[in-house]
Amino acid sequence: MSIRNFLKNNHVFAYVSALACLIVSMLTAISVGSVAVPVLDIVKIIGAHVFRLPIADQVDSMYVNIVSQIRLPRVLLAGLVGASLAIAGAAFQGLLRNPLADPYILGVSSGASVGAVATLFFNLSIPLLGLYTLPVLSIVAALLTILLVLFFARRVDRTMRVETIILTGIIFSSFLGSFISLIIALTGDELQQIMGWLLGSVSMRGWSYIGIIVPFFIVGSLLLLVSSRELNAMSFGEERAQHLGVDVAKRKLVILVAGSILTGAAVAVSGAIGFVGLVIPHLTRRLWGPDHVHLLPLSILTGAGFLMLTDLISRTIISPTVLPIGVITALIGAPVFALILMQQRKT
């Protein structure tokens, strides 16, 4: 039996190794930086937070501050964004029966970006929301976009075949993209800020942003996880899924909405970070097989670990300059993807 077959048939091993990678990535990402924090201290600090214990005296208070105020929220946010994009990507690829689909294919990220860029451009600040105006407006714009896409797709073709949905998504992406270009063209002082956001970043967001993404992450992931068997059926085609007993219309809506919630929330807190939602599910499927029952949770683990490491690279590679994380994911993701593609063509 080949190694790949062994991997595909051994799910315990899959979960253990993916989880181990995630933990190692997380500890490394927290530990490495302008000030190196010993791993043992990190474990102690996190342990104290989790179990609500007083932090042991021997841990330097500077470490405590760096870990709990700066690095831990940053790494967790990177992880949540990576996880959201990866599971959404896996679900969209299965639903659209296209291993090249990504979470941005339906125009959701363009919608979220328009929301965020407009907030920055008009200097919007909604009372009570304050700093959260941007992520909240961004998620609202993302949800509006997916609703519009679905509404139009349904108007065009009542059965909402995936081809129709993809085409509608592309139309909306281009349309909303031109709005973003328009705002950039008109912009003056906020250009740096807008460009910074568009390129994607998880820095200096703090715990509050984690509070924003977590509820969407939980709801979206749960909706997708309970749809994993239907995703398996639907990846053989919608008619096939119906014949197997899947209520395709209902399930498709659930998956589209859940995927859009995840994507919208991720874009809202970190900007449009490309390639994670494309490469991670693809890689996970190559390693552990296409069964969505396992593919979805494994994508969460792998996606989280991957984005934590990418963020680490983005802030250390030419320290002290912090590169936009979206640039790094694209720089790593595109060649990796090209390699996968070439390999696939060969086999």
Binding site: E230, S235, F236, E239, D247
Partner: protein, 486 residues
């Protein structure tokens, strides 16, 4: 089981299917036929609930299919689609296991021992257990189709719908798949409704056929009544000939290709094509002749362009004359697939032949005759080896178009003429001392060019029959006279 009442529907405003009405009983193998665009696939999608009916009802076990939830329907009805490509590399086992989806309640129900039992059974039935850990893409088309059949069977349906299940499969896989289905039908009581592209496969496997024409049912009946030349010509707008299957009591339809060769030359088979040597007489035709013969090889009905009557020694004795004859033909440069071969012990130089052209009939008759074994068929007591063996071999080559009936009548007429010739020449069966009707090893061949004038019959009342009788009578007499002169 399945009842359709006045069903209409389709994709667009104009219904593709109009007022279709039929019932399928449990354990039936029901075929749907029709040319492209006749609405076969639409009808199947309406039965499986993918396309709604605009009017009429479709009932499964006396309940409207719209009353079923998708899951409930999937437990009763499964669909085997046409083979398509798939994006992801699922293993065979994972793919088949998806067939159990409808039997699971909610997300948290786990894989039960019943699921596993069904999975193992259907994989055994479809003979794919050995592939279970391979991915579906690694398999050949026929194997993939078996995997999806296993998936459909894992749903444990009462009714299985198939859309051209043998599309893209090569010959052996087509047969294996349909045999498997037929077995499920007869042993497990499965009901099958299947679209067929191939009329002959449908004829072989289906109990009843529905012939669709422009979205309406043209006829629903047994293959014998549906597959008639007139109906197929009307619906498919093409000429076919119907012929019985050689081994199964089902009709088969044969296409008639349009004659492309514009300068179709008319060939007249005559003495110039005959070549008489000491070892064999051959007749080489520039076009294949439709032959009905009792030769050693190339016998029965067929198309052949070479006729060989070979001289064998008096003591020729071979346990497998057909193989020996084939070898003889090959060593002498004849293609056994294109040749009718006969044997005789008489001297071939004594052969009698002429081209008979009379009353618009053109017939070339060749006879070699020996009467050492002359036998009275009415009193015959079995074959004996005579010291002077002999056989009467008759070739009748008709330059014209002849029906199957005419072939049979030609043989009757020729045999009667031969018997008359023997009678007049007072040839006797030595054992019974009565007038012989032939020899114990006579052969006959009737061939025709299948060009020119049609001859539906060849009995003695017809011109063709008349010429056959006359020519066989006189050529046989000539040949026997030469034989006796030696």
């Amino acid at each position: 089981m399945l009842d359709l009442e006045y069903v209409s529907g389709g994709y667009t405003e104009h219904p593709v299917i109009n007022d279709v009405n039929f019932s399928v009983s449990p354990g039936e193998f029901f075929g749907i036929l029709g040319p492209n665009g006749s609405g076969k696939t639409t009808l199947l999608k309406m039965i499986s609930g993918i396309i709604p009916c605009t009017s009429g009802t479709i009932q499964l076990n006396k309940r409207d299919i719209n009353e079923f939830s998708r899951k409930m329907l999937a437990k009763r009805m499964a669909v085997l689609p046409q083979l398509t490509a798939h994006a992801f590399a699922y293993t065979v086992r994972e793919t088949v296991a998806l067939g159990r989806y409808a039997h699971h309640q909610g997300f948290f129900q786990s894989w039960t021992s019943e699921d596993e039992r069904v999975l193992q059974t259907v994989m055994e039935q479809t003979n794919i257990t050995v592939f279970q850990h391979q991915t579906v893409q690694q398999l050949s088309g026929g194997e993939q189709q078996r995997v999806f059949l296993a998936q459909a069977l894992a749903q444990q349906p009462d009714l299985l719908l198939l859309d051209e299940p043998t599309n893209h499969l090569d010959l052996a896989y087509q047969k294996n798949l349909l045999d498997l289905l037929k077995k499920e039908v007869s042993q497990e009581g499965l009901t099958v409704v299947s679209i067929f592209h191939d009329l002959n496969l449908a004829s072989l496997y289906c109990d009843r056929l529905l012939l669709l024409h422009e979205g309406r049912e043209r006829v629903i009946h047994t293959p014998d009544s549906v597959l008639t030349e007139d109906l197929i010509k009307e619906v498919y707008k093409t000429n076919v000939t119907r012929y019985p299957h050689p081994a199964v009591a089902k009709p088969q339809m044969h296409l008639l290709p349009e004659k492309v060769d514009g300068s179709a030359r008319t060939v007249t088979i005559g003495p110039s094509m005959l070549n008489i040597k000491e070892a064999h007489i051959t007749l080489t035709s520039p076009i294949p002749l439709r032959t009905l013969s009792s030769g050693v090889c190339g016998s029965g009905i067929g198309w052949h362009n070479t006729l060989v009557n070979r001289h064998v020694p008096d003591d020729y004795d071979c346990s497998d004359p057909e193989a020996e004859m084939q070898q003889y033909l090959e060593t002498n440069g004849f293609d056994p697939a294109q040749t009718v071969g006969m044997m005789t012990a008489v001297q071939l130089a004594d052969a009698a032949y002429s081209l008979w052209e009379k009353d618009g009939v053109s017939l070339f008759t060749v006879v070699t005759a020996g009467v050492g074994n002359a036998t009275d068929s009415a009193r015959s007591v079995g074959m004996t080896h005579s010291a002077t063996p002999g056989t009467i071999n008759i070739w009748l080559i008709i330059n014209g178009h002849v029906t199957d009936e005419a072939y049979i009548q030609a043989i009757m007429t020729a045999t009667e003429a031969k018997a008359q010739a023997l009678r007049e020449m007072d040839i006797k069966d030595k054992r019974t001392n009565t007038i012989a009707t032939g020899t114990s090893t006579d052969s006959i061949l009737v061939a025709s060019t299948q060009q020119g004038g049609h001859s539906p019959y060849a009995g003695t009342a017809t011109k063709l029959g008349h010429v056959i009788g006359q020519s066989v009578y006189s050529e046989t007499k000539k040949a026997i006279t030469r034989y006796q002169a030696r």
